[in-house]
């Protein structure tokens, strides 16, 4: 396992490698449509219900960049961005719904302290600002793209890290949260793409 993206979850926290998007991050919003048989690892077994007013949220996901490449690389300039708000594909055999009334927010603040997400299962996660995870947040898909990336920061607030002598977290913790409004459609939103980019000197 070289450099990878991990999600921290639970009280420990536990960690899981989510690189490549194969493991669900828990933000695949599935508005409530009566089908509780989904089997995503995070959240989607407890889909976020469509609010009649206001917003409901996924549990906040905490991710970070991790490396176990020893003695050879220096890391810097870690960033996160998206492929934009995805359009509904045509044809659409999986029946995806548009992102109308649905957003993924990224916390404006990143830090080195893990805090477990809170919320009410089968209803709503605690909104990230309200939980005190960040002072403000930004719509990731609508704002950050390859031309406008969000800087994440290095673990410990340094300018670069490495060469490392033991496996470690190299980025600050980044927090993401899905939010639904009353105009969202029932169903699964079109999968969105989120990237992390980092520089290696080697």
């Amino acid at each position: 396992m070289p450099v990878c993206i991990k999600r921290a979850y639970g009280s420990g926290p536990s960690e899981i490698d989510i690189s490549g998007g194969a493991e669900p991050i828990g933000l695949k919003l599935k508005t409530y449509d009566g089908n509780t048989a989904e089997s995503y690892l995070f959240n989607a077994t407890h889909p976020v219900p469509k609010p009649s007013s206001g917003n409901k949220h996924s549990y906040t996901a905490t991710i970070f960049l991790h490396s176990d490449v020893l003695n050879t690389e220096i890391y810097s300039d870690i960033k996160i961005y998206s492929g934009g708000v995805p359009a509904v594909p045509d044809p659409n055999p999986r029946g995806y719904v548009a992102w109308t009334g649905a957003q993924i927010f990224v916390a404006d603040d990143t830090n080195d302290t893990y805090t477990q997400a809170t919320g009410v299962q089968d209803d709503s996660g605690t909104e990230m600002v309200a939980q005190g995870l960040t002072s403000s947040k930004t719509d990731l898909l609508a704002t950050y793209n390859a031309s406008n990336m969000k800087s994440v920061g290095m673990a410990g607030g340094v300018g670069s890290i490495g060469p490392i002598t033991s496996a470690q977290r190299i980025s600050k913790y980044v927090r993401l949260q899905g939010t639904l409004g009353p105009t969202c459609s029932a169903g699964s939103t079109v999968p969105a793409t989120i990237y992390m980019r980092y520089s290696v000197t080697s």
Binding site: V3, G21, S76, T193
Partner: protein, 152 residues
């Protein structure tokens, strides 16, 4: 260091005329900062056939980075972005340990930034930004395109 995920690697010409490369050096080693010419070359015929080259004028610092792109969440458009970006940069001035410098903290005032972007299907694209006193020239060398970044 050359990684198993690399499609290209760097070379640097020392004042003695000897070339060193990523095969046995790291660009954060002090010897790299003595280079008078730097290149990024394809590792094989399967790599995007593009070479990036620049002379390092006196008073300038050379930076090489390999930017990797990891997918956090994968949508249908995930393959449309680059997965690997080889960055070559020059900037006038001195940095004690330029291999450790976050390039984003180095303003483009007198120098250039060039990127060779490698996409999931293997093709490459070159992007070039300059403070105005460097230009980019491209020459076709048979099966390979040579991009030279020249001080004017």
């Amino acid at each position: 260091m050359i990684h198993d995920w690399d499609s290209h690697y760097w070379m640097a010409k020392l004042p003695s005329g000897k070339w060193i490369s990523a095969a046995n050096h790291s660009s954060f080693e002090p010897i790299f900062q003595t280079a008078t010419k730097i290149r990024i070359e394809p590792l094989s015929s399967l790599s995007a056939q593009a070479v990036l080259e620049a002379e390092v004028p006196d008073g300038y610092t050379a930076f090489l980075r390999t930017d990797r792109v990891e997918i956090v969440m994968k949508g249908p458009d995930a393959a449309s972005g680059p997965k690997l970006i080889y960055v070559m940069a020059l900037e006038k001035g001195h940095w004690d340990d330029p291999g450790r410098v976050a390039l984003s903290t180095v303003p483009l005032k007198d120098g250039f930034r060039a990127e060779l972007r490698i996409f999931p299907d293997g093709h490459g694209e070159v992007d070039f930004n300059s403070s105005g006193n460097f230009i980019s020239e491209v020459a076709n060398m048979g099966e390979c395109d040579l991009y030279r970044f020249i001080e004017v």
